[in-house]
Symmetry: C2
Subunit: 313 residues, 2 copies
């Protein structure tokens, strides 16, 4: 009987591997290094070796494995084709076929890391109990994942949920990493909040903010805002305004039951959520106004859970 | 054998009924009046009578009818509950159950009119051949429908595809019909284009535009723009700019293969499409840039086709 599966989250520096029972219980989790040299040619082989060792150690046969779910840092089409995982050095190929061929023909399902993290949160995290959620990950960049009826919405080119690159501001002079100007990521990511803070500091004299100077972080801004610092509150509201409006755009398109906010920036917690909610409720179509907004709960394990969910759910 | 179905599009003044073979062929189509008095209590009975007469006239038995698809002007949940069809005078009830009970227990599937029109265009119109489309209907208001894997995306409260109420402009002083300020509908509907034109005329002296004065229509604006009138071109670009940006928001969320633009305003044709495409390509996430943009093809029949598709497809 097929009782187990693997959930794997491949990042640019480490690969997280989870060994699951098919009821969703995590039996073990560990990390290996992502070897990106030579166009990442060792990555899949390293994964196979890790899985193989695990099975030997546990005395579990291949017949007992339902499959392998894998989350990857790049667009993944519905058929398992990765278009380009820049951080891994990979080009375009069908990763589901390839990994399956390399690992005894076992079923493999692949997804984009942000989408897979969303699926993880929908399954076991902040989105538990909801069928339709949108997850927004506020980290160095802004990622997103759309879950409809418990499944990832991939989009035609794997671009669904790429809300970090939603155009939020005309006339922005600085360029986003994607090459455009005025993307959500430029205001709502950790680096985005720092940009907003520096702009504020250049235009206003705020003693507390200025103490941090060039080295100010998003966390500093939120901490000061919580203490009641006016400048920091203004910056937080600017950020929340961009994010809340982006959420209202998303809601007018897919009308989710809940938004789940994760990533490092979300550590600002309920304070940030409240600011974001204000703009969301003010700008969203009324029928979408009762969408819940929760913090993510699985942290860095979301992708590992979501990858397992690709197989189990 | 079940060979036939009905596709019904219920509007505030008329009800369009299509009699289909299950291969998609339209055998007949006709209209009846929508009797909205007494909270629209006659509407379903009138429909039943029309269908009954048709079956008698054609000598077709109930056993040969696969089902009835019905599009309605208001939110419809996945289980067939209408939340409120203001234009019909209806409150909240399960229209699928009710109509089925009234018509010999035959299967009924209901959908929101804009969503159903989108399904119709995806099946037999401008979106034929695509699985994932977003339809945008530019009429008196702006409606939308999202089709994923050939199926309507309803959203949690039936609010998916309500893109007419996507917040596009901060600081808008006039109120949208929905009660908010700055919705897409305020700039991209027929009345929205007129608003933009009046604002332009108030701020600029343009002989050609001024000839139309208070009675200017969206069509007048587009006709003048096609003739090269500078003011009309500016207004058209403003409108196209709002719509193109809204499309880029939609794309960052669901990444469709194609956008289908319909409704009275879309009669401006390829000229308008080109203007909209320019903004879309400039603001969308690059992976979404190759989405096709087509004009709708079914006109007022889109809802009737889409309703039939609820049953057949």
């Amino acid at each position: 009987m097929k009782e187990y599966c693997f959930g794997i989250d491949v990042g640019g520096t480490t690969i997280k591997i989870g060994f699951f029972k098919n009821n969703g219980e995590v039996l073990d989790k560990w990390e290996i290094t992502t070897r990106t040299e030579n166009f990442g040619e060792n990555i899949l082989a390293d994964i196979c070796e890790a899985l193989e060792s695990k099975l030997v150690k546990e005395g579990i046969s291949l017949d007992e494995i339902e499959g392998i779910g894998i989350g990857l840092p790049g667009p993944v089409l519905a058929d398992g084709t990765v278009l380009q995982c820049v951080n891994l050095g990979w080009g375009t190929f069908n990763v589901e076929q390839k990994l399956s061929e390399m690992f005894h023909g076992i079923k493999v399902k692949a997804g984009n890391d942000a989408n897979v993290a969303a699926l993880g949160e929908a399954w076991k995290g902040g989105g538990k109990g909801y069928d339709d959620i949108v997850m927004i990950t506020l980290g160095t960049g802004v990622g997103g994942g759309v879950i409809i009826n418990g499944k990832i919405l991939t989009g035609y080119n794997g671009g669904a949920g790429e809300i970090g690159h939603m155009h939020m501001q005309d006339g922005e002079e600085e360029q986003c990493n994607c090459g455009r100007h005025g993307c959500l990521e430029q205001y709502a990511s950790a680096t985005g909040v720092v940009r907003l803070a520096k702009r504020y500091m250049a235009a206003h004299s705020d003693e507390k903010l200025n103490e941090f100077g060039e080295n100010i972080t998003a966390k500093d801004v939120f901490d000061l805002a919580k203490e009641g610092n006016e400048g920091a509150i203004t910056i937080t509201k600017q950020m929340g305004n961009y994010l809340g409006k982006a959420m209202s755009h998303i809601a007018a398109t897919v009308n989710p039951q809940a938004f789940i906010i994760g990533g490092g920036v979300s550590k600002a917690g309920s304070y940030l959520i409240d600011v974001v909610k204000d703009t969301y409720r003010e700008t969203c179509f009324s029928a979408c106004g009762d969408a819940a907004v929760h913090l993510a709960e699985l942290g860095n394990d979301a992708g590992m859970f979501g990858s397992a969910a690709l197989i189990i759910k």
